[in-house]
């Protein structure tokens, strides 16, 4: 079974085969790995690779999965190779486009700093969202023009809600 794993913009082709003894044979790029892997608890994996013991936590985070191992965190997208080829030939990028500002977490809009038509430069405060008793400023990632403001101060929003559309 072949997959494409994308981490940090880098794509890796990974071939997996389960062995009779519950171990796995993986080929990542041109390197082969013999892995003894167990799911010891929900989302917590014990991996023995060439005698080295790793504990890796794997959780889904919209589309990608987050892997914590050895105190490091990696955001990795894994797709079956065939699906990956089809999708990339199609050319549509995964996830939301950079043109819309979405709520990164549920909370309450405490202040909106722009209105539609405003020209903003990178780093300008667009709005402030209050969650868990902290005011979190959301700033423009790049220069642009505000096309539409979908929320107003005092409004409660859920993670992923579109807040502002930029042009």
């Amino acid at each position: 079974m072949k997959y494409v794993a994308t981490v940090g913009g880098q794509e890796h082709v990974v071939d997996v085969a389960a062995r009779a003894d519950g171990r796995y044979r993986l080929v990542v790029g041109d390197r082969e790995w013999d892995v003894d892997a167990r799911l010891t608890a929900q989302g917590i994996y014990s991996l023995l690779i060439d005698g080295i013991s790793h504990v890796a936590d794997v959780v889904d985070a919209d589309g990608a999965c987050l892997v914590d191992v050895g105190g490091e965190t990696y955001a990795i997208t894994v797709e079956e190779q065939t699906r990956h080829i089809i999708r990339t030939r199609g050319g549509a990028a995964p996830g939301g486009s950079g043109q819309t500002l979405r709520a990164p977490l549920p909370g309450k809009i405490s202040r909106v700093a722009v209105r539609s038509g405003d020209a903003v430069k990178a780093g300008d405060t667009l709005l402030v969202i209050e969650a868990m008793k902290m005011e979190n400023e959301l700033r423009a990632g790049a220069a642009g023009t505000v096309l539409d403001v979908r929320v107003q101060a005092g409004q409660a929003v859920n993670a992923g809600d579109v807040l502002i559309v930029m042009g």
Partner: protein
Amino acid sequence: MTIAKLLVANRGEIAVRVIRACREQGIATVAVFSEADREALHVQMADEAYAIGAAPAADSYLVIDRLIEVARASGADAVHPGYGFLSENPRFAEACAHAGLTFVGPPAAAMRALGSKTAARNLARQMGVSMVPGTVDALTGDEAAVRTAREIGYPVMLKAAMGGGGKGMRLVRQESEMAEALRSARAEAGAAFGDTAVYLERAVVEPRHVEIQVLADAHGNVVHLGERECSIQRRHQKLIEECPSPLVDPAMRQRMGEAACRLAKAARYVNAGTVEFLVDADRNFYFLEVNARLQVEHPVTEMVTGIDLVREQLRIAAGEPLGYGQADVTWRGAAIECRINAEDPFAGWLPSPGTITGLRAASGPWVRDDSGVYEGYTVPRFYDTMLAKLIVWGADRAAATARMRRALAEYTVVGVRTTIPLLARIVAHPDFAAARLSTAFLERVLPDIHANDARFEAVAIIAAVLAEYEHGRRAALPQPSNDGASDAWRRGPRTGWSR
């Protein structure tokens, strides 16, 4: 007036901490919970639990009348306010007194004399405790703020009069920042303490934050339990605290302790309190404020002195004398506390509410986990982000540091992002080992600290692909029967896969 049943007017780890102390003293406990907290750990651990209102604290944990009503109805004879919320609100202390409830904390009068920073600064001045120059009273308007700032010179610090934990604090580098700083400081202060009053003082550059723990009984006995250093902060929120301070020697400890006790006596203070100081590069200490309550970081003092601070609070509130003097207080070894918050330090410190799907707390020798959460718990978005406090003790600071590194490496939280990876990097940083501490520590070392390096990337890829691979295999399996499915729900999951 012994205490038989106590209402805990708080939530999270501190509510659990108080419940544990009560259980050990044979005191029955009453928990209160908002609509967001029905499944919180403190509700499960208390003997009784009652709903007090909607999720926002202003509609539940801050509603004095409702708390008094529940205390009365449940037959409680005492109330512990924890920290934050109403813990330093003299009106709450008075309401308890009027209702015939023992308030586990200082009397309202002492709270007024010390709990308000401005009043405390007045008293400290009278008692000859050195202070950072600034306004003694709350600022009346923006003009006054600008005027005073010009007099004492920028940078200046805005602080909430009722403040604690850095809420409502703002550093103002120049006059142009003053208006916005005042607005947000007042807003934050209002939300956190129900009082928008703020004051202003000169900002000491790269100070160290050192505080003295004080215990005072109702019979005039006052002792100090030495200091805690809490210099590692972000936006005035403490991240890591330790006892003793690597900076403080016995002579300095004695001087700071005496100043703190002098202040407590002058205010007729009773119960546990903390006197905070700023210490400059020349080891001069300046009075900062008094926290007229239990501190988040109280455990590091407990581990080193062997004194159970919540137990002492309960004994003092019940009118018992301390029963020991300053000479009986001894310090052994070193303790460090790390605050584990549901924030992603590598994604702009965004709060990370959600369900904790996996949890393995650190444990073993001299590791203490003061937690408010459990596996399966959903962290609500309405309250502060602290999940747990990880405390370690060691024979010396080096041993405690090594132990904290070990414990942070063990501590596994799956499902929500936490500050653990950042804390691990801080504790491993050479400046931490060398105790090169100041409130600017974090800003200074953050550039050396990276979200991750590639050393485990291959392992991560393998884990991610195997998860996806098994995911696919599972999906291909025949469906379990109704019984199978519901038994799994009922008996606990098959963590199968290679079983």
